[in-house]
Point group: C2
Chain length 231, copies 2
């Protein structure tokens, strides 16, 4: 590689890297807005989340294309190849988190426009805060190429799962006591499930970062350092 | 590339290609067995599905490693690169179909061992047959590198979604009429959801095949022909 090519290659790697963080930021705000809309009943905000999902999908497509381009043109190896692979996988999970945000927004719209007003008073905010903090931590781990965060995210995932199960038990009680709450209980159940999945995808991303940092092939210590100080 | 290297490269591409089909076959039988166990209450079969999921996960890891190896060593381009990318993405979806089979098996176990015997008589076999036929068609499309199957799979996906919604409406009716059915109704609801997701993942695979076959870069007609007649 000439020095010029090498510089260009670095620019491209930095582009996909920052692309993931940008997409991650958008997806984070999608989840936040969906939950905010669920809480407040702000239908304009919910419609915005539903519309913006297209932009999330487009970002995945663009980052995928860029990664394919880098593999074909630059023939990356070791840490560089692992970065490209981590990006391809991470954007897959981010796209799916975007889908979950859209699902939450749609359920929230149905809940707030439904004629059935028997809605259980269930607080999803604990699970939601946990899932959002997992997502934030996973993106942070990616940004700093820091594998040490993964175990903490994993233990938070267990908490989100437990929180989902608690919500399900509460909803079953509501439904049994007053069958009129069943329809809206199911909307809340699917919303809780979507929140749980945000946590799952965040954990996946944290696991890719471990592969990125600790991959068996560590021949390119310089490249690793370069990734490390770009936080 | 020397002729020897080129031959070796072809062997490796064929390996990941047949690896996907092998993993697809395993995942297909996992879904079938989970549904069979749900129908018959065969707990041994259900436990087998739960245990075998490890093997599905391992196959994904092995195929991922092989793809990374090919990219690093062989610097694939055009159709060859698209094949590698299609494999990486497809095994991701196959692994998730494996997860859904495991979820169905776990719900089936709970349903067949539960002390609560109030289970709605809901027939999931229509949705299940559709989702399985989508998966089979998607693997077939991959095997024959045939993009023409995708639209039909897409229309089947709409059918599976509609079938899920019908199941949900039926379950709501059951739950409202007899709240004692609520716990088991939710198990069936999540099972129906898992079946719907099998269809979603099958559709994803069919879409990767379109990318594989119709990717913008068609410089390697020979390689495409090679893929085409390996059915």
């Amino acid at each position: 590689m000439t020095e010029h090519t090498y510089k260009q290659f670095n620019v491209e790697l930095e582009e996909i890297r920052s692309g993931v963080l940008q997409m991650g930021g958008l997806v984070e705000s999608q989840v936040k807005n969906a939950l905010e809309g669920l809480r407040t009943g702000d239908l304009t905000l919910l419609d915005q989340v539903i519309d913006e999902d297209q932009r999330v999908n487009l970002m995945q497509k663009e980052l995928d294309d860029e990664c394919n381009h880098i593999i074909a043109k630059r023939q990356p190896a070791a840490i560089d190849l692992r970065l490209v692979m981590t990006v391809i996988k991470s954007v897959g999970d981010l796209e799916r988190i975007g889908d979950e945000a859209k699902k939450i927004a749609k359920a929230a719209k149905r809940l707030h426009t439904s004629e059935v007003t028997f809605t259980p008073r269930i607080d999803l905010s604990h699970a939601a805060q946990l899932a959002l903090s997992m997502l934030h931590a996973a993106l942070d781990a990616f940004a700093r190429a820091d594998a040490s965060i993964a175990p903490r995210i994993k233990s938070q995932d267990a908490e989100v799962d437990a929180s989902f199960k608690a919500v399900m038990r509460q909803l079953i009680t509501y439904m049994m006591e007053d069958p009129r709450t069943i329809t809206n209980s199911l909307e809340l159940l699917f919303t809780a499930k979507a929140i749980e999945r945000v946590g799952d995808h965040a954990m996946n991303i944290a696991e890719y970062v471990v592969f990125l940092v600790q991959g068996e092939d560590v021949r390119y210590a310089k490249a690793e350092a370069r990734l490390g100080d770009k936080s």
